[in-house]
């Protein structure tokens, strides 16, 4: 990885895949973080508002004769609002995860089942032809087990 970087390959063109998270290494942190907690809070707020409206406005929109008894009451409104707040937060988290992690994506252009056998896949997308040999060398020196070339480089 570092070898590739020192060869001047653009960070965006390096693909890494592994079967466990490697937070300790630089590529584990290479991703720009998304304000996921804030999105969750936002989703919660949306959910909560929806819940509040559901518990309050829709009840009023369906005027049921209750002989003077309340149709909406504060405690139930709070409960429904609360539950839908949490639901909103959870769903937003999931949606954020799916979108930012680019899943579901069933068509894989670049993947190797070896990844789930414990190996780490490091690929360079569309390297310049003249740089190929150099990159391969560098990867080998960095301890790569196997190098495949599929119009791209991958070191495992």
């Amino acid at each position: 990885m570092n070898a590739l970087r020192s060869a001047g390959v653009n960070r965006d063109n390096i693909v890494v895949m592994s079967d466990e998270p490697f937070e300790e290494y630089s590529f584990g942190h290479a991703e720009p973080s998304v304000a996921m907690p804030w999105l969750a809070v936002l989703g919660g707020l949306v959910g909560g508002t929806g819940g509040f409206l559901l518990a309050r406005l829709t009840q009023v929109a369906y005027p049921i004769v209750t002989g003077g008894m309340p149709i909406v009451a504060p405690f139930p409104t709070a409960i429904v609002t609360y539950e839908l707040t949490m639901l909103g937060a959870v769903l937003t988290t999931i949606v954020t995860l799916l979108i930012t992690a680019k899943i579901p994506k069933w068509k894989q252009e670049l993947y190797d089942p070896e990844v789930t056998r414990g190996k780490i896949l490091i690929a360079v997308i569309d390297p310049a032809d003249d740089a190929r040999a150099d990159l391969e060398d560098r990867l080998r020196n960095a301890g790569a087990d196997e190098i495949k070339s599929t119009g791209r480089f991958s070191a495992i």
Binding site: I64, T66, G67, G68, M69
Partner: protein
């Protein structure tokens, strides 16, 4: 102001004859479930005469207390119903909308008086008994709750009649089946929102108590009795 139907039951007059029970069954198409099912607790009586005994044999006094839906103003059965099948009508009744009932039986659990009844089986009348059914009252099918309605069909009929004649409903014009059949005249029915009605006057009586009134259900049935009666309060 809409009517607020209420009832007064004078326990000092009640003889425990159970004519009200029979009349109610006949009027409201309440099915009998048979000996066997009754023994298993599936009997339905929208009004029942509770008997309590005081003292030791041979010095025993028996107390009769007809218990029907108290048509509470703050009814525990109403808010718990998820579908508004049990709800408060404009005229202050605890309405039971049979077609909306999905049979959670939550209302029956919440009711402190145990005056809500569930159709465990589809009711059945052997021919020709089916011909005795009152056409003004629904026949409740399996899986739904039913309860005393203060004979809402009679109330509605009187109201429609009064409206056709362009007059107000008169006091005493409406009599639920139980009131009508009560020979000692222990039961009185009428409009509590009219302070001049007989039921209002009796409900203000110093002999009046509410059954389980301490629960805050605000029943619209007032029981009259001469002396304080522990059976009603401490049961």
């Amino acid at each position: 102001m809409a009517h607020q139907w209420g009832m007064v039951i004078d326990l000092d007059r009640c003889t425990g004859c159970a004519a009200c029970v029979v009349a109610c069954h006949a009027e409201n198409n309440i099915s009998t479930v048979g000996e066997d099912q009754a023994a298993r607790g599936r009997a339905k009586h929208w009004i029942r005469v509770e008997r309590y005994y005081e003292g030791e044999f041979p010095d025993v006094r028996v107390k009769f207390m007809p218990v029907l839906c108290q048509q509470c103003d703050a009814a525990p059965c109403e808010p718990v119903c998820p579908t508004f099948a049990s709800y408060h009508t404009i005229e202050g009744l605890n309405g039971q909308v049979y077609n909306r009932c999905i049979g959670t039986r939550y209302c029956a659990n919440a009711c402190p008086y145990n005056v809500r009844f569930f159709n465990f089986y589809n009711p059945e009348w052997d021919k020709p008994l089916n011909l005795q059914l009152n056409p003004d009252v629904s026949v409740r099918s399996v899986g739904i709750m039913e309860k005393c309605t203060f004979c809402v069909q009679r109330i509605k009929a009187s109201e429609i009649q009064a409206e056709a004649e362009k007059r107000a409903v008169k006091d005493g014009e409406i009599q639920p089946a139980c009131v009508q059949s009560c020979s000692p005249h222990a039961m009185v029915f009428g409009d509590l929102s009219d302070p001049q009605s007989e039921v209002s006057r009796l409900a203000r009586s110093s002999r009046g108590t509410k059954l389980l009134g301490e629960l805050g259900t605000q029943p619209k049935v007032t029981y009259l009795q001469r002396e304080s009666w522990h059976g009603a309060e401490n049961a």
